[in-house]
Symmetry: C2
Subunit: 337 residues, 2 copies
């Protein structure tokens, strides 16, 4: 199997690449075992990003380029790709600050990728990282698969449009797509130079565990929908194994997620290491709510129900301690070992 990952320099993208190289793709629809990767093409940022790690694997080919470059996407997709994981795009804060750039990458870039797939003889499977930012405006207490999209950001608008396009291209057989709406993914293991909203939440986990103090920009009683990076990667991988026949009116779904209060998230990060016998000092959290960030987070759905994801067998973290433990196992203890 030949897999293409766009946005492979990101923290989800790089973890997905590692997982796919180790575990392959899920088994086929008849219950066969996982299918190993024979080739992995990684589309990285033009400057290459954090690309060194997997370069020793002979199956891996790294290409640096823009996720909106149609000619490049044509070439990559035409090269016998079986599955595309489309994670490339600008982040929420960037799409809001630079409208033209967000439109170019998140809308026109996706359209070029879909057209590259449509014009091939054999249509690849496409797994797309959507976002809960597609929701916005007045929302019910629990957002289920039937809830409308009235996004209140340009990023969310572009993500909602992506769902519509991928569902239509799939209905017509031009691609075999599926879209997973991701909540806040906990957490980037490395500090970012230009933190996104979700990284500002992620910092509440990453920084104290790295022994650094952190300012919490949200009210303690704010609700957040979160998922571990491992759950997000595993759900993206699992979606690549779902047969097209499992979908009906749409290819898009919510990833079920934990809904937690910021206070609870901070407390768990502060108390869990002691239970594990840690003696290292933890960074401390101080509180300075940021009204702009609070407004963005307050506009997100707080609780999700996703009948479709449940029916497809997507599973996520059992609890907040489970989620934090997964972060510690993957990024703190392994680094310390």
């Amino acid at each position: 199997m030949h897999v293409l990952v766009t946005g492979a320099h990101g923290f989800l993208g790089s973890e997905l690449c590692r997982t796919l190289l180790r575990d392959g793709l899920p088994g086929d629809e008849a219950g066969a075992p996982a299918r190993p990767l024979t080739r992995l093409t990684r589309l990285l940022r033009p400057d290459g990003g954090a690309s060194a790690a997997l370069q020793a694997d002979p199956r891996v080919r790294s290409v640096a380029g823009d996720a909106a470059d149609g000619a490049l996407l044509d070439t990559l997709v035409a090269d016998g790709v079986d599955v595309v994981f489309a994670l490339g795009g600008t982040l929420s804060s960037e799409a809001e600050a630079d409208f033209a750039r967000g439109l170019e990458v998140n809308l026109h870039g996706l359209l070029r990728l879909l057209e590259a797939c449509r014009l091939r003889a054999h249509q690849p499977r496409l797994v797309y990282a959507g976002s809960i930012a597609a929701y916005g405006g007045p929302l019910p207490d629990t957002v289920d698969d039937l809830c409308r999209h009235t996004p209140q950001s340009s990023y969310g608008t572009q993500k909602a449009i992506a769902e519509l396009l991928i569902s239509d291209y799939s209905r017509r057989g031009h691609v075999d797509g599926r879209v997973l709406r991701l909540p806040v993914v906990i957490a980037r293991p490395w500090p970012q130079p230009r933190p996104s909203v979700s990284d500002r939440v992620g910092a509440l986990v990453r920084e104290p565990l790295a022994g650094r103090d952190v300012v919490c920009p949200l009210e303690p009683d704010s609700w957040l929908p979160i998922v571990s990076m491992q759950s997000a990667v595993e759900a993206l991988r699992a979606l690549a194994g779902v047969p097209a026949s499992a979908f009906e009116a749409t290819r898009a779904m919510n990833l079920p997620s934990l809904s937690v209060q910021v206070r609870e998230l901070v407390r768990t990060v502060q108390t869990l290491p002691a239970w594990r016998g840690w003696r290292r000092p933890l960074g401390q959290v101080s509180w300075e709510p940021d009204a702009a960030l609070q407004a963005v987070v307050g506009g997100w759905p707080q609780r999700f129900d996703s009948e479709l994801a449940r029916r497809l067998g997507l599973v996520v973290d059992r609890s907040l301690p489970h989620l934090i433990n997964r972060y510690i196992n993957a990024h703190v203890e392994s680094a310390a070992a």
Copy 2:
């Protein structure tokens, strides 16, 4: 006031042009009277379409061109336009039969129009003809403003995307947009060479009243959401007078409409002329349901509620006889007089 109408060759577009030239735009937000048109630019099909009628009015300028031609749209919008009525685009059947053309006109053409508005110093108001085809898949009995979009056609997908784009451009102040989702509009007064789904429904009104027999391609008990051409035009015109402050999470809304069964529509057309004292013979209806058309119509919402349109004061036909009478007054008796 300078108004641009794209798709002005269509039957809605041409009636809208006539209405605007006669009645102007709705009064301003402070309750001032209607504002007269000083200029009307009509964008017609490249072949000019049905363009002759209004050409004698010195306020009217007719331009023939493609609704997806970005350079042309730039020129037209830059020419001091106050309000754009965006009715140009491919029809449902065309967008489904020719995917690339539908995408080019209905998606890229709209994007070019929005970009032309964004890059101007003073952003125009934009009124866009949306469609109930944006709905599809499993739907509740009554479709209200909170219902999600899972369109089951490429046309519907493009219309749903248009709503998202126009809402986001408006939120950012790049344009002052509003989208009206139209149901089946009754009816084109002239027979079409390539009938659309909505014209095949319209023919059930037009043909018998013109003395011609017609084949009904739908089951007698099918439900249809319909509106008169006059109501649709008046609602589009009214939306141009609504202040931007009346909108919240979205700029899109359902036009409230009548829900009628095909049997009732046919019976009203057959009996209403006698009540008006007609002696002319009516065309007869024979029944030959077409499974493909039945599937399309069966996928539409059957009943609508639109709290937003109601709040904005949009009104439509009071009853089916009222709707049919409006058609007769406008297109049959006036032609016979």
